[in-house]
């Protein structure tokens, strides 16, 4: 795998259900949140969108070009 590109430095976390968002410096975010893989290459995550309804939440991670990098499905604990 090639080396990582520079990260823009911040990630926006959107709660689509509550219509809120916040931004965190990448230093405060786990590596596995800040980076993903697209086309076999490391890519910086710049936005995560959470959608919650009832017992289910989906977390969609996006690269700077708007492409979705991963989706995590969560269930109520």
């Amino acid at each position: 795998m090639t080396s990582r590109p520079a990260h823009p430095g911040q990630i926006t976390f959107v709660d689509q259900t509550a219509k809120t968002e916040k931004t965190l410096p990448v230093a405060q975010v786990p590596e596995a949140v800040a980076w993903g893989i697209l086309d076999g290459q490391p890519v910086a995550i710049v936005k995560v969108v959470a959608v919650t309804m009832g017992p289910r939440r989906e977390l969609h991670s996006y690269a700077a070009d708007g492409r979705r990098v991963s989706t995590t499905v969560q269930l109520k604990s």
């Binding site: 823009p8 976390f13 893989i37 977390l59 492409r67 969560q74």
Partner: protein, 344 residues
């Protein structure tokens, strides 16, 4: 072909969708801000080449058209069964008895497009999927030392699930230890991969039955303010992680989630990430024209609507209910026909 290593008893998360509950807004003291209001960290704007979320939460339902009502009341799907019951209960009310014909039609339309009829989540009919499953074989395992599962590096057994001439590797911890204890087996993954539509299977390049819970769960709970447990992560590269879980259940959630994911994959590639952008206009128009939602979860955004509609379309495609769903969602299904090459 048999799996060489016997698998431990397993279980899965519950699939039963509960009615939606209102989500409290996170407290402002945690750095959240209402969308559109001033944000504590304005630099965020510079990081947003596209708006991936938009204001695209979908509104409820417009009045059902006669052919939609007919499809529901004459149908064979679980929705149709609920619709007939909802109609019977409505007709027993004094409000309905006193209503004019036009009002009755309106009341019926509202009732049949409500959560009494529309499910919380589209669920794959596992029994139906199984009857149409592709043939598969499982070989292995081969040992891979120090495999990097999310949250734990440990030796792994790699199995190969062979379907339609393609091999999909499935990883499990070599020591068979899972924490929390309930988990899917290799055979579950193989059966699910064989049973889901080919379009969904084509997206999967690897499955990992991870030994530990998602190590990001705490971060997500802190970030979004509600404690939840990860069931599955699907990467755009086709790698699927399935985490162990605390309660016993079935494997149907795996199939439903993978089919749902197909909708995100094709719509993201075709329409992009800006849900309010012009590329998404055809889907938004279809939603507006169809009115009724495929599930309550679909109301959360255009992206979830397309994922849920895709799940419904692909899982019902070879069933008697397909024509009924087409009558209910004609405009969405027309776009899905284009995507999946089906001629109605």
């Amino acid at each position: 072909m048999k799996i060489n290593r016997p698998q431990k008893p397993h279980a899965a998360a519950s699939t039963k969708a509960k009615p939606p509950v209102a989500q409290p807004a996170p407290p402002a003291s945690r750095g959240w801000s209402a969308k559109g209001a001033a944000r504590p960290v304005r630099a965020a704007a510079a990081l947003r080449p596209v708006d991936t979320h938009g204001g695209s939460t979908l509104a409820g339902t417009t009045a059902l058209k006669p052919q939609q009502l007919q499809a529901l009341l004459d149908g064979v799907s679980p929705m149709a069964e609920r619709a007939r019951l909802a109609k019977a209960n409505l007709e027993a009310t004094p409000e309905y008895a006193a209503a004019s014909p036009e009002q009755k039609q309106q009341l019926l339309s509202q009732r049949l497009s409500s959560d009494l009829v529309v499910p919380g989540l589209v669920s794959a009919d596992v029994a139906q999927l199984a009857t149409a499953a592709a043939r598969y074989a499982v070989t292995g395992p081969t040992l891979e030392a120090n495999h990097e599962f999310p949250g734990k590096k440990t030796d792994a057994d790699r199995y190969e699930v062979l379907i339609d001439g393609r091999s999909i590797p499935v990883y499990v911890p070599h020591d068979g230890a899972f924490d929390p204890p309930f988990h899917h087996r290799v055979e579950d993954a193989a059966k699910t991969l064989a049973s889901i539509p080919a379009e969904s299977r084509a997206l999967v390049t690897q499955v990992s039955l991870d030994p530990v819970a998602n190590p990001l769960d705490d971060f997500w709970s802190k970030t979004y303010g509600r404690e939840m447990t990860s069931y599955m992560t699907c990467g755009a590269d086709g790698k699927v992680d399935i985490y162990p879980f605390k309660t016993q259940g079935g494997t149907e959630y795996m199939a439903a989630s993978l089919i749902h994911e197909t909708g995100h994959a094709w719509s993201g590639a075709k329409f992009g990430g800006d849900l309010d952008g012009p590329a998404w206009a055809p889907w938004r128009d279809a939603v507006a024209k169809d009115g009724i939602l495929p599930s309550q979860y679909a109301s959360s955004s255009a992206a979830e609507d397309v994922a849920e509609s895709t799940a419904l379309y692909l899982s019902a495609r070879d069933t008697p209910a397909f024509a009924e769903y087409r009558a209910l969602y004609p405009n969405r299904f027309a776009l899905l026909d284009q995507q999946f090459g089906v001629r109605p």
